[in-house]
């Protein structure tokens, strides 16, 4: 069995000070926050109607001993926030932390880091509540972002969940809602406890806790389908992108790792500037092939780009007369 060790990136910790960042909310005291409560986006949640009350508390960190055999505790702090994930809440049910110091949401991404310890697999999400600075009458509780963590959170140990967040600018985030289980709870037969700690906002996308094998975690890496095919769809306005034989790209099964020819077919009055390929599970991995690579409206996508679940968008623009 592989033994994973965890490294606390002290180097990162010092670099945090060099970058603009908020104070760490560590729950040793009330620094950084003014209140903690339960939150659910589901309008008919029993936690909104008052039928149920949430259960949250600051507790001693008895989880620090769950550190790996290196002897270095992943989270050696003394106090942590405990939260009861109720099976009666929705998939966006979580704990709300009102910030002592709001931070601005800007077009340039910031990264909210949250230490999380939970017993079950599942996605985690961060919701930001805030308002525009130029709208004095606006509630500070307007939901401004809903961001899944950039990497999966492994159950049974401390993780540093990282949430890249951005917005139009001129927006202050007053509260953060940590959703530790962004999954439908309909199969849960009992509630479970989740622990949260060391919340910080900074400019560092890397998690503070890493497994010692630096390979990318499962589920967030573009995989080829197990059957040796990739599945191609197209999402187009003002034209369509077809397979070489004229077939529409509707869950089209193409051999993965092999070149694939497509045809750009603009609608009446339109031409194209190329195609964009998006990959499911890799939101930042878009690839654009410009029109000058096409010949007779055909282009062969190189083999290395034929993988997983793909969506091809024709970049159709109007024909200049």
């Amino acid at each position: 069995m592989n033994i994973k060790t965890y490294l606390i990136l002290a180097a990162l910790a010092s670099s945090f000070a060099a970058n603009a960042q908020t104070a760490t909310i560590g729950f040793e005291n009330t620094d950084g926050y003014t209140a903690i409560s339960i939150y659910d986006t589901w309008r008919e949640s029993p936690f909104r109607t008052g039928k149920l009350k949430g259960n949250i508390a600051i507790v001693d960190n008895t989880l620090e001993q769950s550190a790996a055999p290196t002897g270095v505790a992943a989270n050696p702090t003394e106090k942590i926030l405990a939260f009861q994930r109720s099976r009666f809440g929705s998939n966006t049910f979580g704990v709300r932390i009102d910030l002592a110091q709001p931070f601005e949401l800007t077009p340039k991404a910031k990264y909210v880091h949250v230490y999380l310890h939970k017993p079950l697999d599942g996605r985690v999400m961060l919701i930001g509540l805030g308002k525009r600075t130029d709208r004095p009458g606006q509630s500070p509780d307007v939901e401004q972002f809903w961001q899944l963590s950039s990497q999966p959170v492994a159950p049974g140990k401390w993780n540093d969940a990282v949430f890249p967040v951005k917005g139009a600018g001129g927006i202050l985030i007053h509260s953060l809602v940590v959703v530790p289980d962004c999954e439908s709870p309909h199969r849960l037969t009992e509630d479970f406890a989740v622990y949260i700690d060391e919340i910080i906002v900074n400019a560092a996308p890397e998690p503070r806790i890493l497994p010692n094998n630096a390979s990318a975690p499962d589920g967030y890496v573009q995989k080829t389908a197990d059957d040796g095919f990739c599945y191609v769809n197209n999402a187009n306005r003002n034209g369509e992108v077809l397979a070489a034989d004229g077939s529409p790209l509707n869950n089209y099964k193409a051999p993965s790792g092999k070149p694939f020819t497509v045809i750009a077919n603009p609608a009446n009055g339109f031409t194209y500037e190329g195609i964009r390929i998006r990959y499911s599970g890799n939101p930042s991995g878009d690839v654009v092939f410009p029109a000058n690579l096409f010949k007779n409206n055909r282009f062969t996508i190189p083999a290395e780009y034929m993988t997983g679940e793909m969506e091809i968008e024709g970049l159709f623009v109007e024909l200049k007369k």
């Binding site: 508390a57 401004q144 927006i171 306005r237």
Partner: protein, 506 residues
């Protein structure tokens, strides 16, 4: 010490005083929710009320009218002189909506500003609007006002398309465009009626344009530029029922302009920044309820009117209906007014025929006189039952359900005498989430021999509504029909106990 003011909402949040609740350990509290009606637990995500009302509209009209009607373009560059907009008669949104209503549509969305930036109302945000039109018909035009008025009179829903991308505005690409032009235009449009049902935000953004004479290419980050969360907040304050489509993040683009949704089509999606990645199919474990809308064209030359255009054949439009409304999506069918500002006769005639076809083919619901039985029916609660009779009681608020652990079941409809059947429609009780993953349909000519129906059809998801043509063809679905004394629907797989509120047979 700075005092922060907290806005306590009606959400019944529990605020803890931290100094008094610090503990040495954490104990889970035993929490139970009374369930006297034995209701199934929701499978999240679930729609909110406005999304349900939006989806119940099912079929509505798009009206692309504006500067492009008079230039013959689909995307104006933004440098068109206002005087080019010169309707030969007074534009008549009431006529548009009457034509749509004859087709069975329940509402309409009027384009009031396309990418060229020309506004079809006297906006305070730019002089590039109808007040500078080429004739009195144009100068007197106010599409949002007249469209809203006509819709209310005809008891139809209405909304507006406003292009975020503005190729005319010198401010486009700067923060000032959003605050001084776009958001103000949205606010002006919201003021035309608090009962708007949808605001449509095209996903085409950034590119070359006039931009006040700069004549250059400008690009924006669509994920942040328009400040959608706060736009939604502003619009909802004025129009609480309004669904913000596309970039607005409350309903998604179906992913094509050809009038079809996937046979597998989940309303669940991982809401991010439009367009989401799986428009035609949704994502089964998507975290947000984001149902799909299919925008398609009735004419063959583009979204706007073009000389020489013609309307698609009625059977093709019926196919679109089956492949959108019949596949858990809504259908937004575009009907372009011509240079008179009215819908041309050839289009109006086609829509009238479509309305007749829809009425005729879905007039008699044979399920209403069938005996219905089902396996695995859930036990009744104090005030609610889940009996098979809920499937054909004409009440969308009652539903049949199985007990919690049962994710498959068989529903059988039987008639005294054989009926000629062509379509079976199923509707899930989506208030508690979308569940069905797979089903199949059989029919029996004599009540005992069973034959498979719908060859080649992927009977996977249901959602708000799924219409299955029993001959397996959406292109030629009517045919001769099948003589059936009974129909059997087997739910093969479901995320949780299936909930169906209506089964119809035509």
């Amino acid at each position: 010490m700075k005092r922060l003011t907290h806005l306590l909402s009606a959400l019944s949040l529990i605020i803890l005083s931290l100094n008094t609740h610090a503990q040495t350990g954490f104990t889970l509290q035993n929490q139970n929710l009374d369930n006297p009606d034995n209701e199934p637990a929701p499978v999240h995500p679930v729609p909110y009320e406005q999304q349900i009302q939006w989806q119940e509209l099912e079929f509505y009209a798009f009206f692309h009218y504006g500067m492009n009607t008079y230039t013959g373009k689909e995307w104006g560059f933004g440098d068109e002189a206002e005087t080019i907009f010169a309707p030969t008669e007074a534009p008549d949104p009431a006529q548009w909506l009457k034509v749509a209503k004859a087709a069975g549509m329940r509402g309409g969305i009027a384009v009031v500003k396309h990418h060229d930036g020309f506004c079809l109302w006297s906006t305070a945000t730019t002089t590039h609007n109808v007040t500078r039109s080429g004739n009195i018909h144009g100068q007197n035009t106010n599409i949002p006002r007249d469209f809203a008025r006509a819709a209310r009179k005809l008891d139809m829903k209405y909304g507006f398309y406003i292009s975020p991308w503005d190729r005319n505005s010198p401010l486009y690409g700067t923060p000032e465009y959003v605050s001084q032009v776009f958001l103000r235009q949205c606010a002006e449009l919201a003021a035309y009626g608090t009962d708007q049902f949808e605001m449509w935000f095209d996903g085409a953004n950034g590119g070359d344009g006039y931009y006040g004479g700069a004549n250059e290419t400008r690009s924006i980050d669509r994920e942040t530029y328009y400040d959608i969360p706060n736009l939604r907040d502003s619009v909802h304050k004025v129009c609480p029922q309004c669904i913000l489509w596309g970039m607005g993040g409350e309903a998604r683009w179906i992913g094509n302009e050809a009038g079809w949704a996937g046979e597998t089509n989940w309303s669940n999606e991982n809401r991010g920044f439009a367009p989401e990645r799986n428009g035609m199919y949704g994502t089964e474990d998507g975290w947000f309820w984001l149902p799909g809308e299919s925008d398609a064209k009735i004419t063959n030359k583009g979204w706007f009117y073009h000389e020489g255009e013609s309307a698609l054949p009625v059977e093709r439009l019926f196919q679109m209906y089956l492949e959108t409304v019949g596949r858990n999506a809504t259908l937004l069918l575009n009907i372009p007014p011509d240079k008179t500002g009215k819908i041309p006769e050839y289009t109006a005639d086609t829509l009238k025929q479509l309305g007749k076809l829809l009425k005729e083919r879905f007039r008699h619901d044979l399920a209403l006189k069938a005996g219905i039985t089902a396996t695995g029916t859930r036990a009744s609660g104090a005030n609610r039952d889940y009996l098979p009779s809920n499937l054909n009681d004409g009440d969308k608020d009652t539903y049949w359900a199985t007990y919690d652990e049962q994710t498959s079941a068989v529903i059988t409809l039987v008639w005294d005498k054989p009926q000629t059947v062509r379509y079976v429609a199923l509707m899930e009780y989506i208030r508690k989430g979308q569940r069905i993953r797979k089903f199949h349909i059989e029919y029996s000519p004599d009540g005992s021999t069973w034959l498979p129906a719908a060859p080649g059809v992927e009977c996977t998801t249901v959602g708000y509504k799924r219409i299955i043509p029993l001959n397996g063809s959406t292109a030629q679905s009517y045919g001769e029909g099948y003589s059936a004394k009974a129909i059997r629907i087997t739910i093969d797989d479901s995320k949780a106990c299936p909930l169906i509120h209506t089964i119809s047979v035509y």
